[in-house]
């Protein structure tokens, strides 16, 4: 499955107008190139914004050189922060990521909003699909100390892997959804695989403005934007994907709009 998807995105790359779909395309192209290149992290020449593997790809387990408190985090600092945040005892062993594997889903890493009295702190946002719980781990990169907080409703941005899962669920359960009808009308063939479209995914929290989807927020949901290789977008306003339950949720179904 992964290999074919990589090929699909390579096609997308040649189109050169990836637009919104480049969200994950960029990552997949990078991974493909990583497979083609020596594992020394040689810099990709093909695309200036391509991703490369950091070091050997593993999370650093020893402290890298630290930047000034309010400098953006280096790739090595991000990797080290994820290592400390995810291996901390505050994360239960029951934690599962979006693929159902042990360990939390890593959503994003950034600086704390407030100044930190000269300390180099990273904030790592994680999600535990087993308990539907968001974690925010404040990691002191110098000491390795982790301060853990968690809450329901903490819904930081959709990770690349979550986006891939979301599009697959949408395709698997696309019967009656507008985008499936529109895709077939435009392409003359049904949409059966993610590589046929470019996609962008964002989090969806129920705020009362839709007819359904009230679990979203307590559970983790993704809103998808789908684009044909031609550049045309498909209508995706009638549903979101509940990643926690792995269901399509028709949020505006039957609405007289």
């Amino acid at each position: 499955m992964e290999a074919s998807r990589v090929r699909g995105w390579a096609t997308g790359r040649r189109i050169g107008l990836l637009a919104g779909g480049a969200v994950v395309a960029g990552l997949l192209v990078a991974v493909q190139q990583w497979h083609q290149q020596p594992a020394d992290g040689a810099h990709d020449e093909g695309r200036p914004d391509a991703y490369r593997v950091v070091g050997d790809g593993d999370l650093p387990t020893s402290r890298p050189p630290l930047g000034a408190p309010r400098d953006a985090l280096s790739p090595e600092e991000v990797g080290y922060a994820i290592h400390l945040a995810t291996s901390d005892t505050s994360i239960p062993t029951s934690t599962r990521d979006v693929l159902g594997k042990a360990g939390p889903e890593v959503l994003l890493v950034g600086l704390p909003d407030e100044e930190t009295a000269g300390r180099r702190i990273a904030v790592v946002s994680l999600y535990d699909y087993a308990a539907d719980r968001g974690y925010q781990q404040r990691v002191d990169l110098a000491s390795g100390a982790v301060t853990s907080r968690h809450a329901r409703g903490l819904q930081a941005t959709i990770s690349p892997t979550e986006a891939e899962v979301a599009i697959q669920i949408a395709i698997d359960q696309s019967a009656g959804l507008r985008f499936a009808t529109e895709f077939e009308a435009a392409q003359g063939a049904p949409l059966v695989a993610p590589e046929q479209v470019h996609f962008v995914a964002g989090t969806f929290r129920f705020d009362g403005s839709t007819l359904a989807g009230d679990a979203c927020g307590r559970q983790r949901c993704a809103q998808l934007l789908l684009q044909l290789p031609s550049g045309a977008y498909l209508n995706t306003s009638d549903f979101v994907v509940n990643l926690s339950t792995r269901d399509v949720v028709r949020i505006n179904a039957g609405a007289a709009r």
Binding site: P48, G67, V78, Y233, S237
Partner: protein, 658 residues
């Protein structure tokens, strides 16, 4: 006293230009040595000196969700008239939310909290997008068991023209004085793309201390085409685009929508430990139809609040954040005013306020759908409701909404539409920090008359050296007159500096410390034999730019007869200059058999654009920056010395595009 005089000498010889003296109130301000601390960033530090000499510094980075984040924003004026060094303006500036609901009720997007402007949505800058310098931004993920990363030029830093900054014309009869200045700003920007919409976060920090915060939307209107997501809306909710009729009775109406952008502005006015918010409202106190009398009322807001137009504010209401513990040289509290003339989305409570103020709190990162574990899911309305402490560490959540009704002209690629607000210094300075010397004494009561009562100390009759004997010898006492100076506005204090062959006369004082010969009196010494003595008088007064003038020389015979002055010729070599950059010209003063000393001044018309001291017949002069591309006609003027006559040379400086 002597030490003071010696220090004045040092200033005078170092600049040979106008020196602003600090009087009591200004000295008070200058004592507030501000922001001596370096900022707490290193590789992400942005520091830029603009063409007028003002500087900004800050930390600039890309946050995965907020996109461009500026922190520790500090301003340094072009002169030390207001204060020395940097002063803090804002602690932080970031985009707290961008909510885009479509008018047909079909869908809404939270582009910041659901998608994010950083990470993969950040667009790399190119030569086409960034005419200045780019800053590298790293983005790092875990993906398929690997840590992967990319580094792209993600932030653009440039100095941009802001057009005519000031213009003031004085006309008396056929005489005219024009003050006109072109402004510039430090522009920091980034680009993000979320599906069809693309955005530029664009912050301009100008040379007078003002900050313009812009969010530009470009890319494409919500698309039609195969899917037609946002075309085919009920005409009530959109606008027809294109000339064709869609098949199947579908309309070609594109959906109108709002861009509810809310910026988070964390104030740090002069680094205050407490800051207050004032609301100003205006009401007509006259009885119609009498000429309206508009009375303003300012109220300190003691508690967090949202300002909702039509209820707690109207279109003339404005707000400022002040530091009650910081005053400018006039004694007025320093503040920044928020100028927000945008729309707001009255139909959703969280976007109904034009502005919300609440105390800074570590967990309050976003305007809605907050993503910090300390207060998850909250909005500005919750921040207000939960703030029980007095409002003294304010964060302003500035709502710059825009109702976008698509036009035919918005079709691909859409011309950027802007939502902007400004942070304007209000009494942060006693005067506009770039106020020219010639207008620097216009502060409060006073009048504008640069022709006949200039601010700058201006010499009318040169100082003279008087003595009791016609031929000075060793031991002859000399006395300097001040000459005559403009005194319409003020009286001046005078400092004297004695010169030998154009150079300051020094001697070993107590303890072997080198001292300059200052004061109105001087006694001829052995070293003066066979040299030309002159005196430089500097006139100064607090609040006024100083001026200086030099007497004619007095020859002290001895050793040898006074050499006749020889003629000089000037050779000027000027390389091409780049617009906005300071160029250097080399001037050679040729005088047969003499090594010329003295001063060369470069003028454009009557304006001095550079000055330097000639050493061994040569001087290298750094000119002010020219913004205008083209050929500038300049003059080099050599004033001569005791042994060499003065001369002039016209030349052309070619200024090319940057």
């Amino acid at each position: 006293m002597r030490r003071l005089a010696a220090s004045l000498v040092a200033v005078a010889t170092a600049t040979s230009a106008l020196v602003v003296q600090l009087g009591p109130p200004m000295a008070e301000a200058a004592r507030q040595q501000v922001s001596p601390e370096p900022l707490t960033c290193d590789s992400d530090l942005v520091e830029k000196t603009l063409a007028n000499g003002a500087s900004w510094r800050m930390c600039a980075r890309i946050h995965p969700m907020k996109g461009l984040v500026l922190e520790q924003i500090e301003y340094r004026p072009p002169t030390t008239r207001e204060y020395t060094g940097y002063k803090r303006v804002l602690d932080q500036l970031s985009l707290g939310q961008l909510n885009v609901p479509y008018d047909n009720g079909e869908v809404q997007f939270n582009d910041i909290t659901s998608y994010g402007f950083g990470n993969e949505h950040l667009v790399a800058q190119s030569d086409a997008t960034c005419l200045g310098d780019t800053r590298q931004v790293s983005q790092t993920y875990t993906y398929q068991g690997n840590l992967i990363s990319r580094t792209v030029p993600g932030i653009c830093v440039d100095e941009v023209a802001t057009g005519l900054s000031t213009h003031s014309l004085e006309e008396v009869g056929d005489r005219q004085v024009r003050f006109a200045e072109q402004g510039s700003a430090l522009e920091i920007s980034s680009l993000s793309k979320i599906a069809w919409y693309e955005y530029q976060q664009n912050i301009k920090l100008d040379d007078q201390g003002q900050v313009d915060v812009g969010l530009g939307a470009t890319g494409d209107v919500a698309p039609g085409g195969a899917g037609g997501t946002m075309f085919d809306v009920d005409p009530s909710f959109g606008w027809p685009l294109g000339g064709e009729t869609a098949p199947g009775d579908r309309t070609t109406h594109a959906a109108s929508h709002w861009h509810n952008a809310v910026w988070k502005v964390d104030f740090g006015v002069d680094g205050g430990t407490r800051q207050h918010v004032e609301q100003w409202d205006y009401a007509n106190t006259a009885t119609p139809p009498l000429q309206p009398r508009i009375a303003g009322t300012g109220v300190r807001k003691e508690q967090a609040f949202s300002a909702v137009p039509g209820t707690s504010a109207d279109e003339t209401t404005w707000f400022r954040v002040l530091n009650p513990d910081s005053v400018n040289p006039d004694g007025h509290v320093r503040s920044y005013e928020i100028v927000n003339r945008n729309q707001r989305f009255a139909d959703v409570p969280v976007y109904a306020p034009s502005i919300t103020f609440a105390n800074a709190a570590a967990c309050r990162e976003y305007a809605s759908d907050n993503l910090d574990a300390g207060c998850p899911g909250q909005s500005v309305l919750d921040y207000v409701a939960q703030d029980t402490e007095p409002l003294d560490d304010p964060v302003a959540w500035v709502n710059v909404g825009f109702h976008h009704i698509d036009r035919d002209e918005d079709q691909s690629p859409m011309q950027t539409h802007w939502q902007r607000f400004q942070l304007v210094p209000r009494d942060f300075f006693a005067q506009k920090p770039g106020t020219p010397d010639q207008r620097s004494c216009i502060n409060g009561p006073g009048w504008i008359d640069s022709l006949d009562s200039p601010c700058v100390a201006t010499n009318m009759v040169l100082p003279r050296i008087t003595r009791a004997v016609s031929t000075p010898v060793v031991g002859t006492p000399l006395r300097a007159t001040t000459g005559s100076w403009n005194e319409q506005r003020t009286t001046w204090s005078y400092q004297f500096l004695w010169l030998r062959d154009g150079e300051p006369i020094t001697f070993a004082g107590p303890g072997g410390v080198t001292q300059a010969a200052t004061g109105p009196d001087y006694v001829v010494s052995k070293q003066d034999l066979g040299t030309a003595i002159s005196v430089r008088v500097t006139a100064s007064q607090a609040g006024f730019p100083s001026g200086s003038a030099e007497s004619t020389t007095l020859w002290v015979p001895g050793g040898q007869e006074p050499p006749a002055k020889v003629a000089s010729t000037l050779t000027v070599s000027a390389a091409k200059a780049r617009a906005g950059k300071r160029a250097t010209v080399q001037v050679r003063v040729s005088a047969p058999g003499r090594s010329a000393t003295g001063t060369v001044t470069i003028r454009r018309d009557q304006k001095v654009v550079g000055r330097g001291t000639v050493r061994a017949g040569k001087v290298s002069i750094r000119l002010k920056a020219f913004k205008k591309v083209g050929r500038h006609k300049l003059r080099a003027i050599y004033t001569g010395s005791a042994t060499v006559s003065g001369s002039q040379k016209r030349f052309t400086l070619r200024v090319v595009r940057r």
